[in-house]
């Protein structure tokens, strides 16, 4: 049921068409180019008989008078088994298939099936004929990698329906009928394993929303211990370029203890996606022994791909995530970068000639960001299981200044703020999360009081260091100097983590707690130094000892050797060798 219109204006990726008949806001339309190629678009404004559309492709070659086919369906994604491991663009086109069928370049007008319609899945019914079901109730399940992928009654269902027919155990494709439902009015509905859902409408059918209460372990000490994140929570990573936002996201995608990671590469470098695409099939997930790609979906709309599709890509990603939360998994969305998405909004807003807000961003920027992050959450599903969607977004503030609209709009809605700093990355202190600026409203894996004790050294150390810049080292008391050294020590051996070292790259909670206690012992210890040089030397050696400890695998007897040496020294024993 589509309406035909005619193009009257082409202005970069915005096309205005004249139509008669009813059109729906956010409906999909296709602009027909002279050579018959159809360019996908979305209606973003309606004025009388004029509709403004953002075109998801290069508009080169479109002419006034060209036909526009306007559908009644909002921009939607296809959901079902087989999404995991895929690489999609912002409109859910599978990029690998696209490469096979279309070639090296993303030629406009090619739209491919998101799900493999021929692949067979081993279906096992979990409901029975005669059961009464509502939207999102389980009908059966298939095995997708290691997960039980529940096949649910359509999300769009209204009211209660009875299962009339249910396919027996066996293999089916995602388009085969697996059930027939009937409601009290006698309407019947055929159900397959696929569903469609509009990306701009949150997908969440559950008994209740729960308060996030389980930490999401990222295996990064500075996050898990100092600025923790919860399953179902939200956090943002603002930082100037070069501070390591994307690296931090990639590390998280590798090591986080989570069922499924959805990476939304939104307007960022293609190279970063390529790294994930090429490496994940070969990297092992230590939790399952399978490859990382088997727990990853990539939605990639990189910076040189059309800007309108960039705007939709974050919605595509989060809708896929909501779907798998509905299936029962703990899902993490890594959106990199939300600033590019905001810029895409800004570009369209400018073309629509809306009154600009701060830095020419549209006035609705903040509410749009809020609505996006609010799609995260921990829920109790219809069948009582808990599932969560955690959202992490990087922000790329212009000039590294956090006082800009996107950062500020994001800080209002997230539960944790991991602010990256120039200064730390310049000093090669990675992850470059600024321990004095960042905050988290969540509780982590280590007792709050203990964390606060350790954290206090960082602020004091910084003050003392600043003072030393003015009064010099000789004007600083040895006690203060030791506090400064302790803060540097904590920074070097606990906050900093070497992402390129096999062992240090991921620090499990157990190991974090253990190391934290060891580090605390040093922080608590009352040292008695005669000179500052002696103090400096000792801390050099302590730092080196602990660094080596960090590089030594868990369970290796060498760990004990290093510990004993440190203990011995703290107990007043012989001087450190620090070459363990």
């Amino acid at each position: 049921m589509s309406v035909i219109g005619k193009i009257v204006t082409v202005d970069s990726n915005m096309v205005t068409a004249q139509v008669e008949g009813n059109v729906r806001q956010n409906a999909v339309a296709y602009c027909k180019r002279y050579d018959g190629v159809k360019l996908m678009s979305e209606i973003i404004r309606v004025r009388g008989d004029l509709v403004d559309m953002q075109v998801f492709e290069l508009t080169r070659g479109l002419k006034v008078g060209d036909e526009v086919e306007i559908t009644d369906e909002m921009l939607s994604v296809e959901l079902g088994p087989g999404l995991i491991g895929m690489v999609y663009d912002g409109l859910q086109n599978p990029l690998t298939d696209m490469a096979k069928k279309v070639g090296i370049f993303l030629e406009p007008g090619n739209y491919l099936e998101p799900l493999d319609k021929k692949r067979k899945w081993e279906f096992e019914p979990t409901a029975e004929v005669g059961d009464v079901v509502k939207a999102a109730d389980n009908l059966g399940k298939v095995k997708e990698n290691i997960f039980d992928h529940y096949i649910m009654a359509p999300f769009m269902l209204k009211g209660e329906w009875t299962v009339e027919k249910l396919a027996p155990k066996g293999s089916y494709t995602v388009v085969d009928e697996i059930a027939v439902l009937k409601n009290s009015e006698g309407e019947t509905r055929s159900v397959t394993m696929t569903q469609r859902w509009p990306v701009r409408i949150p997908l969440g059918i559950y008994r209740q929303r729960l308060l996030p209460s389980t930490p999401m372990v990222t295996k990064q000490r500075i996050i898990d211990t100092f600025f923790p994140v919860m399953l179902g929570g939200t956090y943002c990573i603002p930082g100037p370029f070069g501070a390591g936002k994307t690296v931090l996201q990639q590390i998280t995608s590798r090591h986080a203890e989570i069922d499924l990671v959805i990476m939304a590469a939104c307007g960022e470098r293609a190279g970063e996606v390529v790294e994930t695409i090429r490496e994940f099939p070969h990297l092992k997930d230590p939790r399952t022994g399978r490859t990382l790609i088997e727990r990853t979906i990539i939605v990639s709309n990189t910076s040189s791909m059309p800007v309108a599709a960039r705007e939709s890509s974050v919605y595509t990603a989060i809708t896929l995530a909501e779907y798998y939360r509905q299936v029962g998994l703990n899902v993490l969305v890594l959106a990199d970068s939300t600033s590019r998405w905001a810029q895409a909004l800004r570009e369209m807003s400018g073309r629509l000639e809306e009154i600009p807000g701060e830095e020419a961003f549209p006035a609705y920027l903040e509410s749009t960001i809020s609505r996006f992050y609010e799609r995260a959450g921990m829920i109790e599903l219809n069948d009582g299981r808990h599932a969560s969607l955690t959202v992490s977004g990087t922000v790329s503030p212009a000039g590294g200044n956090f006082e800009e609209p996107v950062t500020q709009g994001t800080l209002k809605v997230v539960g944790a703020f991991l602010g990256l700093s120039y200064a730390r990355s310049y000093a090669r202190r990675f992850p470059a999360i600024d321990p004095l600026e960042s905050w988290s409203k969540y509780e982590g894996i280590i007792d709050n009081e203990k964390v606060a004790f350790a954290h206090s050294f960082l602020a004091r150390g910084k003050n003392i260091n600043e003072m030393m810049q003015v009064v010099g080292e000789e004007g600083t008391s040895t006690d203060d100097f030791v506090i400064y050294l302790k803060s540097e020590f904590l920074d070097a051996v606990y906050l900093q983590q070497n992402a390129y070292d096999e062992v240090d790259a991921a620090c499990a909670p157990e190991r974090q707690r253990y190391l934290f206690d060891l580090v605390t012992r040093v922080l608590e210890h009352k040292f008695d130094f005669a000179t500052k040089d002696e103090a400096r030397k000792t801390f050099f050696k302590l730092t080196e000892g602990f660094r080596n400890w960090n590089y030594t695998p868990w369970g290796d007897p060498k760990l004990k050797e290093i510990e004993e040496e440190v203990e011995n020294y703290l107990a007043g024993g012989k001087e450190l060798e620090a070459n363990a």
Partner: protein, 434 residues
């Protein structure tokens, strides 16, 4: 059947608007006037009005001048005859030789599917230790040189052109002073690489629209060579001029500026050029090194700022040397683990110490007493600057690494460097007297 229009309705900036029908977005038109002729591109169609961006500018354009539309987007020849040639920003020969009309390829086409890209993983040696050791250049990378206007950025670019390994070198000059253009030409000729080079040059006095076309032409040709399996090195200077040209045009088009007058899509515009850097499965690649001059040495200026978010790192050129702070090659981790086992440790260790040295210098400048440790740092810093950082150092990677160890050994004990003990055991210079 050629349809000519001879009534231009509006002329403003470089944009001419006229009534025309059946015209496609981004189609190329030819404008013929008494002053000569110029290409123009459709930048907006609105009912029966078509807005054209006239490449040669609208100076002297008459409302009665002739316009006809080509029916297709901007195209440029791609043949091996391009090698050794010099063109303007609109693709006209600048070297007085013949025009090329064979095998026309569309300029500014769609982007490469990320799924067919390969991960860059081969180092490009440049024999500049600040690049090779500390911020290794990788084939398929895009890296800008951030510089204040007075620094020798074009010299650095030319040196990379001559010393880096590449099948084809393409230079895109935007807003170049005529002298700079001649400098590049002479350097390539005397360096013996002109026969595998192509230059697209827009000088400061050329029409502003050609400035925007320059990188597109350069990158289109680069892409075609890369598709043939060639390793192409693209050098773009200066991208700030390119951004300023965008600003000029968008302001004339009455677009709402976002930041310091630059258009809201500055990021996307820069990205679509930089993202052409690629490695293909057939072995072809595009490596892009550009120059972004920072007005007032301000890295938060929209042009360097947006660039930094797009490119895979940046080189800061300061006081005639590549400054280790802020300079970053994001892809270096892809290659520096395979060169020599001490590469990464030296990279981090030397910079951490040099950073401490800079702090100490500040303290010293404020008149503080120097501790024994401070003295060590100061001596180390001086040696590091003159023996490693200096622009005049021209040495291979391994030699540079050895040199770093030698400098460390001269001033420090192994434990003070923060470098892992097993590496120190292996590489620490053996002192003759102990």
């Amino acid at each position: 059947m050629r349809k000519y229009y001879n009534k231009i309705d509006r002329i403003a900036g470089s944009v001419a608007t006229l009534k025309a029908d059946n015209v496609g977005y981004e189609e190329i038109a030819k404008v013929q006037g008494s002053w000569g002729e110029s290409l123009a591109q459709v930048i907006r169609v609105d009912r029966d009005m078509v807005s054209l961006q006239v490449f040669a500018g609208t100076r002297g354009l008459s409302t009665g001048d002739k316009v006809h539309f080509s029916g297709s987007a901007m195209k440029f020849a791609f043949t091996d005859d391009l090698l050794g040639r010099i063109f303007t920003g609109s693709g006209e020969p600048r070297d007085g030789r013949c025009e090329l009309t064979d095998n026309l390829v569309e300029v500014g086409g769609p982007s490469v599917n990320p799924a067919v890209r390969l991960m860059p993983n081969r180092m490009i040696p440049t024999n500049i230790p600040m690049i090779d050791v500390f911020n290794t250049l990788v084939e398929g990378q895009k890296l800008p040189i951030f510089s204040i206007p007075g620094e020798p950025y074009n010299e650095l670019l030319a040196r990379i052109a001559l010393q880096a390994e590449a099948d084809i070198i393409i230079i895109g000059g935007m807003g170049l002073k005529y002298d700079e253009y001649l400098y590049f030409k002479d350097t390539l000729e005397s360096g013996g690489v002109m026969s595998r080079s192509i230059m697209f040059i827009h000088t400061a006095s050329d029409p502003i629209v050609e400035c925007i076309q320059t990188p597109d032409l350069a990158l289109m040709v680069a892409e075609q060579f890369a598709l043939e399996g060639k390793k192409v090195l693209v050098l773009l200077t200066d991208m700030t001029n390119f951004a300023n040209a965008l600003k000029e045009i968008s302001i004339t088009m009455e677009q709402i500026p976002s930041n310091r007058g630059y258009p809201g899509d500055l990021y996307s515009q820069l990205a679509s050029r930089y993202e052409k850097a690629v490695v293909f499965e057939n072995g072809g690649s595009i490596t892009t090194i550009s120059v972004t001059t920072m007005p007032g040495d301000d890295v938060t200026h929209p042009v360097p700022d947006n660039t930094g978010y797009i490119t895979e790192g940046q080189f800061y050129l300061k006081n005639g040397a590549i400054d280790p702070f802020g300079s970053l090659s994001r892809l270096k981790q892809q290659v520096n683990g395979k060169t020599r086992d001490d590469h990464r440790a030296i990279m981090d260790g030397c910079i951490q110490l040099y950073s401490q040295c800079r702090e100490t210098r500040e303290k010293k400048a404020m008149g503080f007493e120097m501790s024994a440790w401070d003295e060590k740092l100061l001596k180390y810093g001086d040696a590091f600057e003159s023996e490693i950082m200096s622009f005049s150092v021209n040495t291979s990677l391994f030699e540079a690494l050895d040199k770093c160890w030698e400098i460390l050994g001269r001033y420090f004990e192994p434990v003070e460097t923060g470098i892992r003990s097993n590496l120190c055991d292996k590489y620490w210079p053996k002192k003759a007297d102990s």
